[in-house]
């Protein structure tokens, strides 16, 4: 579904030397897979995930989405792909606190320019109800517990019926019990709804929820 070929991400530091956040990384993610990306802090996990999620572009190398090379795709088209095919879940939840829980979950639908085959509000409520958040629809996200906020973030990632969910240390800010609940949720989405899940973590017990573990060190896939 998504393929990275010799992808490097370089940052020029103080106009002096080039730092490689990613070094000639090769990676293929197949449909309906559950993959973990593991590595120490600063190894380039988030960078890799941002490139896979079309939020960032590599300095060199090629990224293919369904065999289509993305460097020729316009910014608007990349936005559309993020909107329709990818759902992001972040360690810091990244919800917009001035919007309500329900509005946060519905937010991706307002950026979609094609006809939706569902009612945004009904679908948002049904996902939130399934996640046990039906009493919190009109709350502000910052009034919720970490586990609840992460569930809202997952609900937002799911609203557009994405093919791929990218979770960057989704349990990083949660206690281990809540962390495992979130992991069970992601596993269920992968098993029952056949959504591809890419998980970034540095904890081995979290990584082991996945069938395949990719290790990364100093920007290189090992």
């Amino acid at each position: 579904m998504i393929k990275l070929a010799n992808v490097s991400k370089e940052y020029v530091i103080d106009n002096e030397y080039t730092f490689y956040a990613l070094k000639k990384a090769n990676l293929e993610i197949k449909e309906k897979e559950f993959v973990s990306i593991m590595g120490p802090s600063g190894s380039g996990k988030s960078t890799l995930m941002h490139i896979v999620g079309l939020l960032d572009k590599p300095t060199t190398g090629k990224v293919y989405v369904d065999d289509k090379e993305i460097s020729r795709i316009s910014d608007d088209e990349l936005s559309r792909l993020r909107n329709e095919f990818v759902g992001f879940v972040f360690q810091q939840f990244n919800l917009i606190n001035k919007l309500t829980v329900l509005e946060n979950v519905m937010l991706p639908t307002i950026y979609c320019r094609k006809e939706l085959n569902f009612n945004p509000k009904e679908r948002a409520i049904s996902i939130l109800t399934r996640f046990g958040l039906d009493k919190k629809l009109n709350s502000r996200p910052n009034k919720l517990s970490g586990g609840q906020q992460q569930r809202v973030a997952i609900a937002r990632a799911l609203i557009m019926k994405p093919k791929l969910i990218l979770a960057d240390e989704p349990t990083g800010n949660l206690d281990s019990k809540t962390g495992h609940e979130i992991m069970d949720l992601l596993t269920e989405l992968n098993k029952k709804e056949r959504i591809t899940v890419v998980l970034v973590t540095h904890e081995i017990d979290i990584a082991e929820y996945a069938r395949r573990i990719i290790k990364i060190r100093d920007g290189e896939v090992v």
Binding site: H50, D56, D75, S79, F88, K98, E103
Partner: protein, 401 residues
């Protein structure tokens, strides 16, 4: 455009959280729109006032004045050629021109007036019986002087309402009484209806006395007039009569020694001067709109910096650059429109409060202009911050703490 609702809702949420900041930011636009709308309203009022005055004079009337005062639609300002004055022979010439109904010569004298209650300086206008018609005057009590008063050189006057009130208490009291004009006794035979006006440098016809021009020769031994008013059959004859008068007068005077003026011509000349003046004032007021716009730009830059993370989140879930652009642009436009609407409302109240003193009014164009200008300022000054927001790299924005 289903996101338009969301865009405006989130902008309004934001404003209600920062009411004070929103108000202060839109204050510049508020003041600018207020000043512009009020000045336009005053300009419109002035124009209406002037054209009403001309309306009363009648479109079928032509004036002759010495010298060249109008050229190419504006006042030439060369009052230096204000030399020659007209005499009885000119009146006779005018009377012979086809389709001329009446001729009113005008001589003015500013002098000491002695009435029952008061002694003061005032203006007296000596003319023919046609003046009533030519100037659109109306008699309140008594009568205007007639043809026989003119031929008999009768010492009678008709006085403005204000003169009657100041010198005799009221119009009825004044009728039949004597009034002394520069030591010559006149009998008051009529009082005019109030025409309003004056107070803005223009003539206040309520404070004038009117007498037969033949009687006026007492003070005017040269028998000269500074203005001749000619009434035609109706306004359709004005151009032809003008031509004929010109032909006749050129036999006696040089081209630059007299001017033939149509009220409409004069009106458009005066109006064009006021338009220019008004435009200058409005342009000065518009500077505060620019200052207000800069204030909005400043706050929008702050807003964008405050919300980099939010922009990153929106980009990650599929917002296009254009979505971010329109979100921030909408906020800027809303901000300046709030100022515009408040400014317009305030201007309305201000105009309402001066309306019984002055015929100022706000027309639909001003309303549309105020709303148009304020949203245009929102767009102009909002576009730079909005573009900054739209052009943020999504990944940089989402990593931003």
């Amino acid at each position: 455009m289903k996101n338009l609702f969301f865009i405006f809702k989130s902008a309004i949420d934001d404003f209600s959280r920062n009411k004070m900041r929103t108000f202060l930011t839109s204050l510049g636009i508020l003041i600018g729109v207020f000043a512009v709308v009020v000045l336009i309203a005053l300009g419109l009022g002035l124009k209406k006032y002037i054209s009403d005055q001309f309306e009363a004079m009648g479109k079928d009337t032509i004036f002759l004045v010495p010298g060249k005062i109008l050229s190419g639609g504006g006042f030439s300002g060369s009052a230096s050629s204000f030399t020659g004055t007209f005499d009885n022979r000119d009146i006779e010439t005018l009377k012979k021109v086809n389709n001329v109904v009446s001729v009113a010569p005008i001589a003015l004298k500013s002098t000491k007036i002695n009435g029952l209650l008061k002694e003061d300086f005032s203006d007296i206008m000596f003319s023919s019986e046609s003046l009533l018609d030519v100037m659109g005057l109306e008699v309140d009590v008594g009568r205007f002087f007639d043809r026989s008063d003119v031929s008999k050189r009768a010492k009678v006057v008709v006085i403005g309402g204000k003169i009657a009130k100041d010198y005799y208490g009221n119009a009825e009291e004044a009728i039949g009484k004597k009034i002394t004009v520069d030591d010559v006794k006149f009998t008051i035979i009529g009082v005019l209806k109030s025409k309003g006006g004056g107070g803005m440098g223009g003539p206040d016809y309520d404070s004038y006395l009117y007498g037969p021009y033949t009687t006026g020769f007492i003070f005017n031994p040269d028998k000269k007039f500074f203005r001749l008013s000619v009434k035609t059959v109706n306004e359709n004859y004005v151009p032809q009569v003008k031509e004929d008068i010109k032909k006749e007068f050129l036999k006696r005077y040089k081209e630059e020694e007299f001017s033939i003026i149509e009220p409409t011509e004069l009106l458009s000349a005066i109006t064009s001067i006021f338009n220019v003046l008004n435009l200058i004032l409005v342009a000065i007021a518009a500077i505060s709109l620019v200052v207000g716009g800069i204030g909005i730009m400043n706050i929008m830059y702050v807003t964008v910096s405050d919300r980099i993370k939010e922009i990153g989140i929106r980009r990650a879930i599929g917002a296009r650059k254009s979505d971010i652009l329109s979100q921030f642009l909408a906020e800027a436009v809303l901000l300046s429109s709030i100022g515009g609407i408040l400014g317009l409302g305030l201007a309305y109240l201000a105009v309402l409060s001066v309306q019984n003193l002055f015929p100022a009014y706000i027309d639909l164009t001003s309303v549309l202009l105020a709303l148009g200008i304020s949203s245009a300022i929102g767009i102009t000054f909002g576009v730079f911050p909005a573009r900054k927001a739209a052009n943020l790299e999504p990944v940089e924005a989402i990593r931003y703490e």
